[in-house]
Amino acid sequence: MLASSKSRLGLMLVTPALIFTSVCFLLPVAALLLDAFRIGGPDSLDGGPLQWSLARFADFFAEPLHLQVLWRTLRIAALVTLCSALLCYPAAQAIVRVHARWRGLVLGMMILPLMVSPIARTYAWIVLFGRNGAVNAVLLHLGLADEPQRLLFTEMAVFVGLLQLLLPLMLMSLVSAMENISADLALAASTLGANAWQVFTRVTLPLTQEGLIVGGTLVFTGSVTAYVTPALLGGPKVLMLETLLYQKVSVESDFGTANVIAVILVAMTLAVNAGLKRIAAPRRTT
């Protein structure tokens, strides 16, 4: 194959997707992000000439509700990430030890939820947490409460919903990381005197670091950019960044603020992804 024509052919094959992604994806999003840094112009409500400004950001951060939403989003995302890691380490450990025959089935059952609509997955919590739902029924029955508690539209509900939504991502990451660790390593460590906890912290944890980081990134960004779950379980009372964004656009037609939120969302996901690359990269040398 003539080398130069090969390169050219490669370019040709990539071009349609490249053009499509740039024009139909990156450009509109870039325009959106840019708008957050500008005020005025013929289409705006403010009037005045089009100019660069950080005024929108200033306005955004001045509003206490916005700060509350931002903080809440980060808080819940961090909590979900932490809990998913805590739960998935033992669970992944168990999966890796499962007999090969059942492994496929178990993994399939873990992956299945990811294929189902987030609406269906979140719905169960609505059923459970509702005024007439199961949890309240149990509480009343056991006499732990006098009247139906408001469980829906609380931070806890959003937390639980997000945890259930994103757990499989962390699980898959950790399982694949653990599969690469020979079972002999833990055995060797224990013959050298390590107890279970030490084996975990000194052998398992360091070796699955990359899987943990990948899973953590997926879960964290998934939490920050989730819409359906916060919308259904948090509602207008417990707003997260994306539900706030939606509200600004559909209810208030406040595109200016919406653009600012967009910038914040992109900045967060890019930062987390970049951070991942930086932490993961030095590993390559070992």
């Binding site: 390169s7 490669g10 139909c24 509109p28 739960l87 669970a91 168990a94 609406i119 499989p168």
Partner: protein, 259 residues
């Protein structure tokens, strides 16, 4: 092994946590009552029947199906050549190109929907269906690339060289030698993309319009206004549909190895 008890228990708890809700949704879907009381006062198929007959849901289902199929096909048409180029003949600047093409996986989907709405659909007064389609295609293409690429990376190059020395053109080589050997990956990519499109919410939020709505959006809208078990019933149907889909393709093709 005693040490294995704790992880095993956690695993069972996690599995219950992940899969239990489906059972709840099933039960709620077959509720005979008027509201979302749980446990349901009685069981009946009335809500299942009612959603199957509801016009707005049928239409939304149709739209979701159309968008899903079209977007998936287009995503494959765009993505398979990319996967091939990436593995066999990387063009100059491959690293940058890769970043650009995987950006849809990083950018929050809602922003894409909003961006497309404001800077495309409204700008050129494009039909709603087109905007929705574009949004979905953009989201699905990286999946197509990723799944097909991993299969191509494992395919030996020498068989393509053999075909060429036997007289085949590049196109013939692709059609007669490469494609048959990545068939599984292409089909897996098809299913993965289709399911992703079908369940998509954030992109579709801003891109749907009067008469053109995807099923998830329609469901969300319904939930705002009424609190009957019809959405539970619909969710039940969707879950059964998805489960059957996934189980059959996993059995026939073993797609989980392509993820």
């Amino acid at each position: 092994m005693k040490q294995g008890l704790f992880p095993r228990v956690v695993l069972w708890a996690v599995m219950l946590f992940l899969l239990g809700p489906f059972i709840i949704v099933f039960l709620a879907g077959f509720s005979g009552g008027e509201t979302l009381a749980f446990p349901p006062p009685s069981y009946s198929r009335r809500w299942i029947v009612s959603v199957l007959q509801a016009e707005e849901f049928r239409q939304a289902f149709g739209t979701s199906l159309q968008i899903g199929l079209l977007a998936t096909v287009i995503a494959l048409l765009l993505g398979v050549p990319v996967a091939y180029a990436m593995s066999r003949m990387p063009p100059p600047g491959m690293a940058v190109i890769k970043q650009v093409l995987t950006s849809p996986l990083i950018i929050p989907a809602m922003l894409v929907g909003l961006g497309l709405l404001r800077h495309f659909v409204l700008l050129v007064d494009a039909p709603v269906f087109l905007g929705l389609l574009i949004g979905h295609v953009g989201l699905l293409t990286p999946y197509a690339v990723r799944v097909v690429y991993s299969s191509l990376a494992n395919l030996r190059v020498d068989i393509e060289e053999a075909a060429i020395t036997l007289g085949a053109t590049r196109l013939q080589t692709f059609r007669l030698v490469v494609l048959p050997n990545i068939r599984g990956a292409v089909i897996a990519a098809f299913f993965l993309a289709f399911v992703t499109s079908f369940n998509q919410v954030p992109v579709s939020l801003f891109l749907t319009g009067p008469g053109i709505s995807t099923l998830p959006i329609e469901m969300l809208g319904h939930m705002e206004n009424s609190f009957d078990p019809s959405i539970a019933a619909l969710s039940t149907l969707l879950v059964l549909f998805t489960m059957a889909f996934v189980l059959v393709t996993e059995k026939v093709l073993g797609i989980s190895k392509y993820m």
